[in-house]
């Protein structure tokens, strides 16, 4: 079996300027901080970040925003990170951040579609609102739906609670969020793991993300301290 365990620096070595990166978590709960920190250190720029939200300043993708690494942010909510608003409205060209807002359920489903080979799906969410702009409306049995397209990315940064050396991963409590869908929707998948165990230690009934999706495992992810 190929060794997937490496340092955060090794794991993110292939990430270049302009990469599209999915980041798991909800308000940074379920975001692999250890991988975010490595990205901040590497200081790659012009990233497209796909995440539920913008984290908060000093946590999660908020660190990437503050460090000026994010060119485009695809998220459902950015209200808890005032830095996003500042960068959306700045006149300094290189600080500018474009924010594409997507309803949370649609965002989750678009990432799922990306990982599961669907060409899109029909959702009632957003019909009649500005979210519908530019999208095809399809009527099924008398009800209107928006045709929403899949989302994929170059890289996914996943936070695992327990990960075996093959990459099989479980997520504790509300750290699960977008992590399982993102692990399937990106070309290169890195798990920042709180605990690494031997293959076979996780009950096959309880694995949430299969190791086949995982390219790199980085240990030492710490729970956020209050």
């Amino acid at each position: 079996m190929k060794n997937k365990i490496m340092t955060a620096q090794e794991a993110i070595a292939g990430i270049e300027d302009g990469a599209s990166i999915m980041v798991g978590g909800f308000m940074a709960c379920g975001t692999p901080e250890i991988l975010i920190d490595a990205l901040v250190e590497k200081n790659v720029k012009n990233l497209t970040i796909i995440c539920n939200d913008a984290g908060v300043p000093g946590r999660g993708v908020g660190k990437l925003v503050t460090n000026g690494q994010v060119k485009t942010l695809i998220a459902s909510h950015v209200g808890l990170n005032p830095e996003v608003a500042r960068r959306m409205n700045t006149d300094v060209e290189e600080d500018k951040l474009e924010c594409i807002l997507v309803p949370q359920g649609t965002l989750a489903e678009r990432v799922r579609a990306g990982g599961t080979g669907l060409g899109g799906f029909l959702t009632p969410t957003g019909v009649g609102t500005i979210v519908a702009e530019g999208k095809q409306v399809i009527n099924i049995d008398g009800r209107d739906y928006l045709l929403e397209k899949p989302l994929k990315a170059d890289v996914a940064l996943i936070r695992g609670s327990v990960t075996d050396k093959f990459g099989n991963t479980t997520y504790n409590a509300t750290t699960r969020t977008f992590n399982p869908m993102m692990a399937a929707a990106a070309e290169y998948v890195i798990v920042g793991a709180c605990e690494i165990v031997e293959v076979g230690e996780i009950d096959p009934n309880n694995v949430v993300t299969s190791g086949i999706f995982v390219d790199a495992i980085v240990g030492g992810e710490q729970p956020w301290q209050i």
């Binding site: 539920n52 005032p82 309803p103 359920g105 489903e109």
Partner: protein, 216 residues
């Protein structure tokens, strides 16, 4: 102020039945849980991935892996379940949430809702609100009747929609209203107000229920 919010939350609580699956928005709606009768146990869904959410975590006893959709540390009740965001919104969109309770900037007589964009202010994002109001079986708007005197219950929403034709009920400190095909039906009036006062605070024309009751 606290009083008004409590009046609203207490009245909303009466709309919920034992065993209901409910998603409560941030702020006033969260207070609803405090006003449930002893024999009514609802199941709280939190869109970040909990079925069976419990009360806020005690200071010093927080588990950092367990937050609600407002990023507060919470607990879960026995029989809870955690799930990913696609599953969570599958539950919401699939009509498995009996009621969602949230605030509004504007609601109109067609049941249209605007609660996510204030022109000139930062747009924080719709989060899960668009999915929730489209998917939940019953959408209850719980809010103060006016915004510093300005109308919020309108003939037509002026702000960008969160969703169209989704609101079932509006509960304010002044009364309880239902959205019907004919317009907004006033079903209960708070004893502190007259019909004239609530109509004056409402841009849309209220249909007064022939069985109008004092607000419970």
């Amino acid at each position: 102020m606290a009083d008004i919010k409590e009046i609203i939350a207490a009245r909303v609580a009466k709309e919920l039945s034992d065993g209901n699956v409910v998603n409560l928005g941030i702020g006033l709606p969260t207070m609803v849980a405090n006003f449930l009768p002893e024999d009514v146990h609802i199941i709280l869904q939190s869109e970040n991935g909990i079925m069976g959410m419990g009360p806020a975590a005690e200071k010093g006893k927080e588990d950092v892996d367990i937050i609600n959709a407002g990023a507060q540390y919470v607990t879960v009740n026995p029989g809870a379940m955690y799930f990913d965001s696609a599953t969570s919104f599958g539950i919401i969109r699939g009509g498995h949430v009996d009621a969602t309770i949230l605030g509004a900037l504007e609601v109109d007589q067609h049941g249209n809702l605007s609660n996510w964009i204030v022109p000139g202010k930062m747009v924080p994002g719709m989060g899960g609100a668009m999915d929730l109001v489209v998917g939940a079986k019953k959408v209850i708007i719980a809010m103060q009747h006016t915004q510093k005197g300005a109308h919020k219950i309108l003939k037509e929403c002026r702000l960008p929609y969160t969703a169209v034709g989704v609101v079932d009920m509006i509960i304010t400190e002044m009364g309880v209203m239902e959205i019907t095909p004919e317009g907004i039906l006033l079903k209960e009036l708070h004893p502190d107000y007259t019909i004239e006062q609530i109509q004056e605070a409402t841009e849309a024309e209220l249909i007064i229920s022939p069985t109008l009751q004092p607000m419970k």
